[in-house]
Amino acid sequence: MLGYLLRRLLYALPIMLGVAFLCFMLVHIAPGDPLVSILPADASAELQRQMMRVYGFDRPLPEQFLRWVWRALHGDLGTSIATSRPVTGEVLKAVGNTLMIAVLASLIGFSLGSLFGFVAGYFRNSWADRLASLVSVIGVSLPNYWLGMVLVIVFSAQLMWLPATGAGPGGSGDWRWDWAHFQYLILPAVTMSFIPMGIVARTVRALVADTLAQEFVIGLRARGLSEGGVLRHVVKNCAPTALAVVGLQLGYLLGGSILIETVFAWPGTGFLLNQAIFQRDLPLLQGSILILALFFVLLNLLVDVLQTVLDPRIERG
């Protein structure tokens, strides 16, 4: 198994380098001069050349890439053009905010999804199964930016139970774990939980149905084990895969939070990306995408490794 883990790690390295290369290239596939958003329209050619030198855009591409990677390895992703603050700090602060809704959404999605999936897989082809399958199809088909809007209409505009946008009564700077702040978290997290819920429900349903059809379950029943005892075995068999699925979902949520954060004006990575795109702040765009993508690669790696450790049946050559 140690060999597998090592190989898996080694395999992740070129992927990470490729991811970094793609993020680096984002600035260069962007139309127009990368400096266009900081230089005034009537900047002299001399000033332009000077700025190109300051930012290093005058060097050959491979050299630029290596310099960029070298600095990134030291935690330096450049400075945001719009705010003149270091990109790394801005992104990490935003990652924390996004993690709050993404983790809460994963927890909600995992609990409800497992419940629906388990009932559906256990009572296969019953009305409960059909209902649960419908819920899971709806979960993955809902455009979450629209769901967010509808929830705001119902719970904020009409019922006035929960705040519509923002991250706390005093803005995002003063987050505390009390009700006054926590209520801002509810609508974004619930909105975000629908996709993992649908996917977990679908996976768990198939897992439970497959496990119940296996011979060892018939064996357990034949030995007179109570139904609760049989279920415990089924849960044990399904848990590693279900956990792996939700672990990967956390990565998708973190990377895909831009739409929901735009709807709820939540100050996370998605909101930051939105700003970066519309202010043409390319270093910020590049940096946030690099950090989010690397996080996703590492999460994949972690889930894979944990699964191998947790589930002794998995043998990977």
Binding site: P14, I15, M16, G18, V19, F21, L22, C23, L26, V27, I29, A30, P31, V137, I138, V140, S141, L142, P143, N144, Y145, W146, M149, V150, V152, I153, A157, Q158, G251, Y252, L254, G255, G256, I258, L259, T262, V263, L273, N274, A276, I277, F278, L282, L285, I289, L292, A293, F296, V297, N300
Partner: protein, 297 residues
């Protein structure tokens, strides 16, 4: 995902000697699935609506009017209300079906062609060519799909072409992976060995033996992506990265109506409802198609 390889299946009907092609069998099972048929009906209606939009729109979808701004559903002359510029929402939703469906479906078709070709080449060739193609695909696959779409569209800038390019790039690796694994399985099968032994050229084997067995699974997988693609494409327009105003497109309409959620909430929510209905229908049709094709013998 396990790759199902289809050989022609003949249902054993007692007393009747009948042989149908695989495709006919799949269609036969599909039409007996009520959910899939309802979904197919809704999709057909939406497509007809898009095609005949100019003839069924009650009003000019671009005519603005200060007097008709944000009117509720059921206002005389404005069956589904007026939008933030006083344009007839019903007409805009009808015409919007064109761009919305196009932006959702076209990237999947392009990715089906591109990703399918790459995957089949990688799977059939094997060796270093496989390694080169699949490692590049892996890098793209290492991004969560929403993030990759946003990254590319954000760098390229708003516009229909840029959004199409970004979405196609998002779906190519997913389709290529399926195509590669199915092709590799087919390449190792006995009947391909037999064809090779009888002297068939690589191109002939790909055309006769591989394509027929590989297209089906790739096609089913691609149809399941349309739902995601619809949501993503409208999402890009919702963010201001896809279709530009004043063109009607459901995601963009949802974005411009967002300011109206306090004054006319249900008018504001309508374009999103259409995105949802379309996406759910494509999802259920794809599910039906998958279960119609995956028949375990």
């Amino acid at each position: 995902m396990t790759a199902a390889i289809h050989t022609s299946v003949t249902p054993a009907a007692p007393g009747v000697v009948r042989s149908r092609s695989h495709l006919a069998n799949v269609l036969h099972r599909l039409v007996r699935n009520p959910l899939a048929m309802v979904s197919a009906g809704i999709i057909l209606l939406l497509i007809l609506m898009a095609v005949f939009a100019p003839w069924i729109m009650p009003h000019d979808p671009f005519a603005t009017s200060m007097l008709k701004r944000l009117k509720p559903i059921g206002t005389p002359g404005l069956p589904l209300g007026g939008d933030e510029l006083g344009r007839d929402l019903l007409s805009r939703l009808i015409l919007g079906a064109r761009l919305s469906l196009f932006m959702g479906i076209a990237p999947v078709i392009l990715a089906f062609i591109l990703g399918g070709t790459l995957g089949i080449i990688a799977g059939y060739a094997g060796g270093w060519l496989n390694t080169v193609i699949m490692r590049c695909i892996d890098v793209l696959y290492a991004f969560p799909s929403v993030l990759l779409a946003i990254a590319l569209s954000g760098a390229l800038g708003a516009g229909i072409t840029n959004a199409l390019v970004s979405l196609t790039i998002v779906f190519v690796p997913q389709i290529a992976r399926i195509a590669e694994s199915v092709t590799t399985a087919v390449r190792r099968s006995d009947y391909v060995d037999a064809a090779r032994a009888s002297g068939a050229s690589a191109l002939l084997i790909v055309r006769k033996q591989v394509l027929g067995n590989v297209i089906g699974p790739i096609f089913v997988y691609a149809t399941s992506l349309i739902s995601v693609s619809m949501i993503l494409a409208s999402g890009l327009s919702f963010l201001g990265l896809g279709v530009k105003p004043p063109e009607p497109e459901w995601g963009l309409m949802l974005n411009t109506l967002r300011t109206a959620i306090y004054s006319q909430p249900w008018v504001a929510a309508l374009p999103g409802l259409l995105i949802f209905i379309t996406s759910v229908s494509f999802n259920m049709l794809a599910d039906g198609l998958r279960s119609a094709m995956e028949v375990k013998q």
